[in-house]
Amino acid sequence: MLPKVLEKSKFAAFATALAGEYQVVGPQLKEQSKAGGETFVFGPVTDGAALRMDYNITLLSPKKYFLPMRETLLKYTTVGHPKAEAVMDTRQRVIVGAHPCDIYATWLLDKVFSTDHKDPNYLSRRERALIIGLDCAKPCDETSFCHDMGTNYVESGFDLMMTDIGEAYFVEIATEAGQALLAKAETREAHNEDFAKRQAFMERKQGGFHKRIPVDTKYLPEILEESYDSLVWEAIGRRCFSCGSCNLVCPTCYCFDITDKLNLDLTSGTRERTVDSCQLDNFASVAGGESFREQRSSRLRHRFFRKAKYIQEAFGRKGCVGCGRCDRNCVAKINSVETYTQIAGSR
């Protein structure tokens, strides 16, 4: 399908028009502070003007719309014969402004939740969501290492992909559903000069990203395996709080906990799923009290192994998209690039 051009001045109207039919979620300002600058989050909008398409990165990724931080799986009653029914979110959603790394992460989670046992709660949300991507010409900030992980370019996983070409967005149409969405916008055909501008963007992008990990990340699975007994884990583990922040903000983490909540009548309630973190003290402990990853260092190692080895081995692509959210949110300043660099050097 031929690309279109959407003037920036007409973008807000487009998003607002979509909001009539879908829940539109996109980047918005969460807060501003002297030391922290502007912080963004994905959130629902009814007025497209509230979207901040110039955002760098959001606190949580759009994952929260597919695997919510908290969600209800079941509703049940226990009077007489117990009854239970599944609770599904069937809202139609458009995710606006997803960056390539977050799109890549969505691709990975799609794999995870549709391989073997299919997860209906995830899939029901995912199938009803359309993604309008927004390409980026440079890393979000100095924490990002998406280039190392090869996630700053995505070829698919979106319905539309917008590229900033100055006064307008160059919009690639990847799916028919995307085309239907774009019908709600006032667009025009892409002319030669638009293609040229988009080419210029891609060239800028090429020069805009730099690798930061000194080894090629395709070797990380082997490097990690060799580092299993490295003292690096011990050293980093000492600094780690096991607070779980790294997992909880990660766009590719998908571990969860399931708990039952009763209503005050004590005869009805819900079964809830909450995202979980393998860094937490009790994550792998069983009823008898035994914990199978008791040391902080072993939990931390597990996280890095999952990100750059286990997931790669299971699904053929890296489990880390290099967005840097874990590192930005780590109070102990434990840093992925440093960690990979250290283990590569310490073998």
Binding site: E31, Q32, S33, K34
Partner: protein
């Protein structure tokens, strides 16, 4: 009176219920003669002034709000005012408005709690609000609705009513959004009918309040711009005394009394009263017109010397707070909510924060060193100031009711204590004796 001349009465109430904190009433009448007449404070002492020593400027309001769960916003207000006074910190108009809104919230919450949950059961002849759930479900529903409104107001502005979070010297750590203020406004509007119904309810019950009067000195904070709650510019009394905030000790004088473990406060007379009635008696002219209307309906006229009418004054202040809160919401919305970061230049010095909490005048007085660490602290809590007055009331009240049964006398005394809405867990550290510095 002849029948009571030789009467002996022994009232010993261990832990007066439906008040905050542990207090005992001890009244001893022998052969018609009043021998002992005390409200003993048996709460475990908590030593807040000591706990403040060595603490940083930004911790003071967090620590002192823990003095009392019911007046937590008040303590936080007095605390930030004291720190701001000490360091010469100016706050924005927006901050002032938000703080006032917070105090209106707390005032409504506390008065509604007191009138409906603690005092009304006496007038309806039951032991607590629990039986009212069955007999007067509408009343309970209304009380909960108003309480929730007030709690939510404080929640939106400062995170929590019990121990507010975002109130800090210089302003707030989080500014509510315009949508949240609009929401508060809509919620208040939705509750106007309930406020009116509260006035009607109390107007209908007011006849049951004991007819007991005793003239005393009523003390309150005064603010030229409004009926002083959140802050004021000077202290005034109905006896015409007057002093600046920093000179509060000129009026709030403490005396050692033999029988009580707490020091008593008075000015010229043997006792002084603070609280809703004292504020009304001093500042009633500044009340919102709707509150004045309510006062007329309730038969409350200044100067009112019936202690039991403190409850009625609370209702009047509830009306006032609701309407003033509406005004403040409008002001905030008109000005638009701006993100502000509190600016504080740490400086050495002494500062005094005076505020009117639901139970009366509250004093926080700190001295800071140049690192912003507290070197001296003094806190005077309303119930502490009322103690002498309560006992003076006892002394007049008991002989007047001596012809009644012991149970009735006890109930009367308990109601009298409850009328003050005493907050005993804070009052235990209101003493001001210093040997340091």
């Amino acid at each position: 009176m002849a029948t009571t001349a030789k009467k002996s009465v022994n009232v010993n109430v261990r832990y007066v219920t439906r008040v905050e904190g542990h207090g005992n009433i001890v009244v001893n009448v022998k052969n018609g003669k009043l021998e002992k007449c005390e409200l003993d404070i048996v709460e475990a002492p908590r030593f807040f002034e000591s706990m403040l020593l060595g603490r940083r400027w930004d911790e003071a309001s967090l620590i002192t709000s823990r003095i009392c769960g019911i007046c937590a916003v008040g303590h936080a207000s007095a605390s930030v005012l004291a720190t701001e006074d000490a360091m010469g910190i100016k706050v924005s108009e927006q901050t002032e408005r938000l703080r006032r809104l917070n105090v209106y919230g707390e005032t409504i919450q506390s008065h509604v709690l007191h009138v409906y949950f603690l005092a009304a059961p006496d007038l309806l002849g039951v032991g607590s609000v629990v039986p009212l759930v069955q007999t007067h479900p509408d009343v309970v529903k209304r009380a909960l609705k108003l309480k929730k409104l007030a709690n939510d107001m404080c929640g939106i502005i400062s995170g929590r009513k019990v121990h507010p979070i975002s109130m800090t010297p210089g302003g707030f750590t989080r500014i509510p959004t315009a949508a949240e203020i609009l929401y508060i406004k809509e919620r208040i509007l939705d509750c106007v009918g309930d406020v009116v119904a509260t006035v009607d309810l109390v107007a209908a019950l007011a006849g049951k309040l004991p007819n007991f009067t005793r003239e005393t000195e009523y003390e309150a904070l005064y603010c030229p711009d409004e009926y002083a709650l959140y802050r004021g510019t000077k202290l005034i009394t109905t006896d015409g005394a007057e002093c600046s905030n920093r000179d509060y000790k000129k009026i709030v004088k403490e005396k050692v009394v033999g029988h009580s473990s707490s020091k008593h406060v008075s000015n010229k007379r043997s006792s002084i009263m603070v609280g809703a009635l004292a504020r009304f008696n001093n500042n009633w002219k500044q009340l919102h017109p709707k509150a004045l209307e309510a006062a007329a309906k309730l038969g409350l006229k200044a100067p009112c010397t019936n202690t039991f009418y403190n409850n009625v004054a609370q209702v009047v202040e509830t009306v006032h707070s609701a309407y003033k809160a509406l005004e403040v919401c409008d002001e905030l919305l008109a000005a638009g909510l701006k993100d502000e970061t509190p600016e504080v230049q740490v400086k050495a010095g002494r500062g005094v924060g005076l505020t009117e909490v639901p139970r009366g005048l509250l004093v926080h007085d700190y001295t800071y060193d140049d690192r912003g660490v507290i070197t001296d602290a003094n806190l005077i809590i309303p119930t502490g100031q009322n103690l002498a007055n309560i006992e003076d009331d006892f002394r007049k009240f008991v002989p007047e009711v001596l012809d009644r049964s012991q149970e009735e006398i006890t109930l009367g005394l308990e109601m009298l204590v409850r009328a003050y809405d005493p907050c005993i867990s804070c009052s235990v550290h209101m003493l001001d004796v210093k040997f340091v510095g």
